[in-house]
Subunit: 908 residues, 2 copies
């Protein structure tokens, strides 16, 4: 077995590593090696591998065997390459020692510059640079940095000393310190180190190097790094590489300087070199922002040769890397040195434009272009956002429950929101939490703010569906509806006060913040077109109103995957009939109330079917427990009692009898259909009467009736029987045939387990992953706020399972269900209609598991389309999906009507 | 292929069938054939098979091919056998036509007697019997029965006619009707039939037979039969056989008669022939109870030869059938005919005695004896029951939530129950529903009655644990605590009124019903000993107090499978400390409150460990959500506010913030341990301090610490870490080693799915099938009352999944979990601690799935022991269980202390 190589050298004659070795050399090390191989001028150096770091930790923070010798060898080679000696009092080699992991973790780990300086080599630096002040300034910086990073002596100890010195002398900036003062400070610094560490500041450069390498290794497990890894799902097992590189100095005089550049505009994506430069400065100074950097033209004017070389280099690098790059470079006495090249961060807008243009330039393929944009980032493009330049007074923060921004006057009830919005007011609805009754008010508001509830609370889900911004669970706000105000600490916000919500970050802002409008660029449309070609998954929307349906269709929805019928029950006066229906004492009374609801519900379906002409619409029959529709306030009870001609007390007693301890696990879903079949009959009738009505007008309608909360196959069998019976009855009356299917939600563990038996009676499965996650985990999303944040923060869970599908648990149940369902019915159509349907990692899971479609809220449709495309490009389906042929419809002899013009137009 | 045989003949020369052919011939038919084969005198006849019935239904209620011809052939053979002709005017053959399914369904289906009578054969019957009145009486009975059963003319039509006739003549009983009146009635009857059916009463005997056979077939699907099958889990696919048999008459004079007999006493099991006889009567008359039957001795005195033959026959039959038999026989003019022999129904007491004695007599093996007793029936032997002879005023019915009977005065609060019980009062605690706070009151009461809640409600579970009778979910009762009364319709029951609860049937009885004490006979102990030898499953108990533990041990518990620590939190004053702990604002305050609880909880464990000396005790760390411990009443809040020195409003606001929408899926179980580790630390400390305390006294303690509501392996890993850390700390302090294990509840679908990963950190699994059923079905047991009864009544579900494990859904998850857990840890101990642990079919499932033990409430332990034995005898484990060696304990180097004397004594 070959001896393990711990260190990879790079220099002007080429490198032992290359860009493809990121896992071993880290991003920075691999790119430095790559640039060397491309003969780009890079200060020579070497990279200690990530594996060495892993071994270091495996062996109780000790160096693996052979590392010492390799380090000595590479250091010698570097000295030779640079013509300088490490610690040489006449011409010293100075080093930078930097971390560099596989994934970029900017600023998370430690760096030491100017390593190799000591009381002796200092002299050499002064002599070689011809600048004694510079040498002493470098030395005091080195002591500070090394002590802070390696010796654990906090930086402030040194900064306080400088402050005292400056005050004593009476100067303001560090640069004004005279040479003597610097020298005195270095002495002071060394004393500080001795006091804190009980040993003198290390003068031996090799000891300095050894200690610095250890410090970089150890920084892999510092607090910041751990937290960063948690946030970005980076495994702790990767370790970091250490890059040791000869120092070059941008602060050597007028022909020196330092710069950063992007090869294209990271804000807009425009194809222009985007760089900034500081003469006579080190990288630190750019970052510190003390001096304002110049545009690259100025540098070009003063150092035209350097500029020409830089242009050649960046163009070559961009072509080589085939991506927009973020570059760091230094000019030392007229010589250009590249210090870093990495793929540059960019806004969503820029990402889209760069991807599309690079593809058009022939740099990348269309599939690669599709892969270049983070699906989640598209959110930025779809919603109003707060002007990033604006100064804001942030009052408090909640959860970023639904993205975008909203500005409006504070109101506390849905009724008032509707009333005031009607006269043109912009409003923010502030509630402890929202309930289905608030939907009208939520729709009329610019945004919703709640004090309780999580990312999947009612407010959050509904707001996302509406594309309306929402900040949920802002726990610091205390609402007093009686006093019509809310407070955060000592600040009181009254009804009518202006506030701004930032649903993308969770900020609650006092006053009116300026907003920026979204625009969907041509580049965006082009990219989405390529994504649509690449993806296999269909993307549908969750929509309950014609308006939502239209929005979704504009965003590219290919049907409705979840049309909740209960939201219709709250609109306008119909809630009264709904309550009559619920509180009916006899079947006759219930039938009367249902008869009043039938035409309204039919009208709802007419609107939605029309908006979705030619596309499938999955209608879920009534799902929530009936008590959700009951009055909440005393006043509502009085109104209802008058309507029904009964006593308030009687009404309340009856309502009380519907109370449930665990409504999530209660009398809901198809359990309602089993016990009150008249409700499902009415809804089925409304669906098919609406369909027939439109069919007569030539509008193609494709209803898919979905049965919620099926646990046992017999529930599905009976529900299907009911739907088919009523549907056939309506169609017989109307003398028409509607193409329709009947399917089952799979949202309980039992349903997944007996999916084969349910599939006997179902034309399709739609996974309700919200409820499936709740039941599989035994975790109520409404109550999880008290411990789930703790779980994700302390790493008990990697991810909130309500945000991204828990593959290990819930995911396995889903797979089981798909396999069993398709086992007996190979053509079974399978989709998802939970909140996960618009989350990229979950979409990827659905692709891998052979789903036919995902369904999500309208504003997440582009995200889902892109995620589906990326899944198809990178993860070819492990499980073959059913042929995209339609699942067997409920009745065999179905005459398929010709699609309408509108439907044809919309088909790709 | 052999032609299918539809009919099996039986007669004095032997039979085509036998007792083993019950599936084909039904119970009655098989036994009639068997008796013929044994040369017991049975009126000849034949049986139409159950398969013929199935075909009849499969073919749209038409006779299968060949049945006609076979019927004709068998009828001819029967005529020859009997020397009579069907419909013969001089010597007619008369037939009985009876149903007979595989399982006994007494009275559920139809029977026609005296078939073959018509205006002509009537004369022959009169001539042959020499009794014209008898012949006409038989004819009018036949017309009534045939019309009712076959023609659908209701019996009351005929009975009204008889009543009118009797009034007209002025006689009281049917037997007093003169011959002329009978003749006139027959004419009237025929007219009634003509009016109702528009056709004359069928005179053709073959047509009569054909119609009667159809009627018996059809009766398989009558309402009563369907309901009976549902109750007793009899598949509708079985069908019924039809037995056609020559009539014999017990009403032919002084040497005729009819009798029923049991070969042993069905009430006590005593070995004595237990028979009743009526001279000159038909079977009907015995059933009608018009005349009081005589003891068998009287019959023996008057018909000694018949008696001697009967004795020979029953002894022979009992020996042949190897079981206690229920016999029917008729004596026709001095000739004995056996009409039926079947295994006799018996009380639990009799079942136990008969099984044990028959085994001792060498009739059956010990295993067979064990199989002869229904485990559920043992309940009768363990609880006080209402004197079956008593006359009762049943006020209403609820669910039979916990068996036994209780008599007491009505009270409405737990406090009052405790107070009054202290002065010796017998009380029934009546509550809307109970909560953990009521436990003291429940314990002090004779029984508990609740208006809401199901078989697994808090009241039901706790009452069963206490062996206290409970009627739950008595929905008709309306409680007014304010007025201190409850009503059922117009009846009001006030505080202090006496009522009696029958927890075995759900009856609520006005006044004091007389009770019968249970006694555990020697036979019972013998049988249980045999059962213990046969079973492989261990049987543990769910017990939270030393008292429960002792009771359970007396019933044969081999350890505690579930000791809930939360019940301890309610006792006495400690609830105040619990509330302080919950409402603590800082970790310090919480620590203070926990420090107060520690010694109390330690004392609890000392008591329980001592009671279970030498046996394992599984302690479940705190499980319920904290808000369950908060005050419920205004007064409690005031007391607590004073205790804590805070305002009531503040306290309530804090309590309100703990409210949960779905507490079942909320902040409970190990989620508490993750967020408030101090609670679990205190409990662990209490367990190990108690264990060490006893170890010092030489008492062997085997604690098994159980972590509830584990969903993710990381929860288990951290919980185990906590327990081990605290345990080791205590043992180090005490200088002792306790043998202990740490295991996981498996009560969430996710836990079953990732059982392999959880097993890495768990020494044992204990299935919490209550919660697992709730989450797998998405069904809250507290709320299921609104639809679950409908589900079982209408056949959507065969069984309430909270009563017996749902094998298809929940069961499959359980199997998956066991397989995965043992896959990585072959020695993993697996048990069950849900309510199902004491239900025979669930125990059978646990056996088949390779569990190590079941755990159930103390009073169900004998049931579980017997069920476990039956499972072992009939269903050898499909999945090999882990070796009964102990699972790897939490620490390897564990010194096993020598078992105490008491432990040795108790070990089998």
């Amino acid at each position: 077995m070959a001896k393990q190589k711990h260190i990879y050298f790079f220099g002007p004659k080429g490198a032992e590593g290359a860009a493809g070795m990121k896992n071993l050399l880290g991003g920075k090390g691999a790119n430095l090696a790559e640039m060397c191989n491309l003969k780009v001028p890079v200060p020579a150096g070497f990279t200690i591998t990530t594996e060495t770091c892993v071994q270091f930790f495996d062996q109780g923070r000790r160096w693996p065997q052979g590392l010492d010798a390799e380090l000595a060898k590479n250091l010698a080679r570097l000295e030779k390459e640079m013509g300088k000696r490490f610690g040489d009092p006449s011409n010293p080699l100075l080093l930078s020692v930097r971390s560099g992991a596989r994934a970029s973790m900017p600023g998370m780990m430690d760096t030491v510059l100017n390593l190799g300086l000591n009381d002796e080599s200092l002299k050499g630096l002064a002599a070689k640079s011809g600048n004694e002040w510079f040498a002493w300034d470098s030395y005091r910086r080195f002591i500070t940095m090394f002590s802070d990073v390696v010796l654990g002596v906090e930086r402030q100890n040194f900064e306080q000393a400088i402050e005292r010195e400056k005050q004593r002398i009476g100067v303001i900036s560090d640069a004004e310190l005279p040479l003597d003062a610097l020298k005195a400070l270095v002495e002071q610094f060394k004393k500080i180190v001795r006091e804190h560490t009980k040993t003198p500041f290390p003068q031996n450069p090799r000891e300095q190097l050894r200690m610095a390498v250890n410090a970089v290794f150890n920084s892999w497990h510092n607090k910041r790094a751990i937290e960063y890894r948690r946030l970005y799902h980076i495994p702790a097992s990767w370790g970091t590489a250490v890059n040791v590189q000869a120092m070059v100095f941008g602060n050597m005089g007028a022909e020196s300087g330092t710069g950063v550049a992007f090869t294209r505009d990271p804000g807009t994506g425009e194809r222009r070199f985007f760089a900034e430069f500081l003469f006579n400065a080190q990288g630190e100074d750019v970052v510190a922002g003390i001096r304002t950097p110049l545009g690259i033209e100025e540098m070009g004017a003063r150092l035209p040769k350097v500029k020409a070389e830089l242009d050649r280099i960046w163009q070559r690098l961009e072509k080589h890397y085939r991506d927009m790059l973020d570059l760091e470079f230094t000019v030392e006495s007229g010589a250009l040195w590249m210090l870093q090249a990495r793929v540059g961060k960019r806004t969503a807008e820029a990402a889209v434009r760069i991807a599309v243009e690079m593809s058009r330039e022939g740099l990348i393929t269309k599939d690669e272009a599709v892969m270049r944009v983070y699906p989640e980032s598209l959110d930025q493009l779809l919603h109003d956002t707060i002007d990033p330049a604006a100064e804001l007074t942030v009052l408090t923060r909640g959860l970023p429950a639904s993205p975008g921004a909203g500005v409006g006057k504070v109101v506390f009830t849905a009724e008032e929101t509707i009333e005031l919005a009607a006269s043109g007011e912009k409003l923010i609805l502030v509630r402890q939490e929202t309930s289905p009754e608030d939907i009208g008010g939520m729709n009329a508001a610019q945004g919703i703010l709640t004090a309780t509830g999580g990312m999947t609370s009612h407010a959050a889900v509904v707001a996302r569906g509406m594309g309306k911004c929402c900040v949920a669970g802002a726990e610091q706000i205390k609402i007093s509806e009686r006093n019509q105000l809310f407070t955060v600490g000592s600040v009181a916000v009254h009804k009518g006060d202006w506030i701004t919500l930032d649903g993308s970050t969770g900020r609650v802002i006092l006053g009116k913040a300026p907003l920026v409008k979204p625009k969907l660029s041509e580049h965006f449309k082009t990219l989405m077109g390529w994504a649509d070609k690449a993806r296999r998954l269909r993307v549908r929307t969750n929509a309950d109103t014609p308006n939502d349906a239209k929005t979704a269709r504009d965003f590219g929805a290919e049907g409705i995957g979840l049309c909740r019928t209960e939201h219709m029950f709250f609109e306008g006066d119909r809630i009264i009939s709904v309550r009559e229906m619920i509180l009916a004492k006899t079947d006759e009374d219930r039938a009367k109330a249902l008869a009043k609801l039938l035409p309204m519900q039919r009208q709802d379906f007419v609107g939605i079917f029309e908006a979705m002409e030619g596309l499938p619409v999955t209608v879920r029959l009534l799902d929530p427990p009936l008590h959700e529709f009951l009055p909440k306030s005393e006043g509502d009870y009085e109104v209802l009692a008058k309507d029904l001609g009964v006593l308030v007390t009687e009404l309340k007693a009856q309502a009380q009898s519907l109370h449930e301890f665990n409504p999530m696990l209660g009398h809901r879903g198809c359990r309602l259909g089993m016990t009150f079949p008249a409700i499902y009959e009415m809804q089925t009738r409304a669906i098919f009467e609406a369909a027939c009505h439109l069919l007569k007008k030539g509008v193609v309608v494709k209803p898919e009736v979905m049965i919620p909360l099926v646990a046992h196959q017999e529930e599905m069998r009976r529900s299907r029987e009911l739907v088919v019976r009523v549907a056939e009855d309506v169609m017989k009356q109307e003398g028409l045939r509607v193409v329709y299917t009947v399917g089952s939600m799979i949202e309980l563990p039992r349903a997944a387990i007996v999916a084969d038996k349910i599939a006997e009676h179902a034309d399709f499965f739609s996974y309700g992953t919200n409820d499936l996650t709740q039941t599989t985990f035994g975790l109520s999303r409404d109550d999880a706020g008290r411990f789930l944040p703790h779980y994700t923060q302390t790493g008990i869970l990697d991810t909130d399972p309500f945000v991204s599908i828990d593959r290990e648990g819930v995911g396995e149940l889903i797979k089981l269900g798909v396999a069993r369902g398709r086992g007996i019915k190979p053509g079974l159509k399978v989709g998802i209609c939970g909140e996960h349907g618009g989350e990229p990692r979950s979409v990827e899971f659905c692709h891998e598991t052979g789903f036919d479609y995902v369904s999500c809220s309208p504003y997440r449709i582009p995200i889902a389309r892109l995620a589906a495309a990326q899944a198809a490009i990178t993860a070819p389906a492990a499980i073959k999906p059913a042929k995209t042929k339609k699942a067997r419809p409920a009745k065999r002899r179905v005459k398929k009507p010709a699609p309408s013009k509108a439907a044809k137009r919309r088909k790709r």
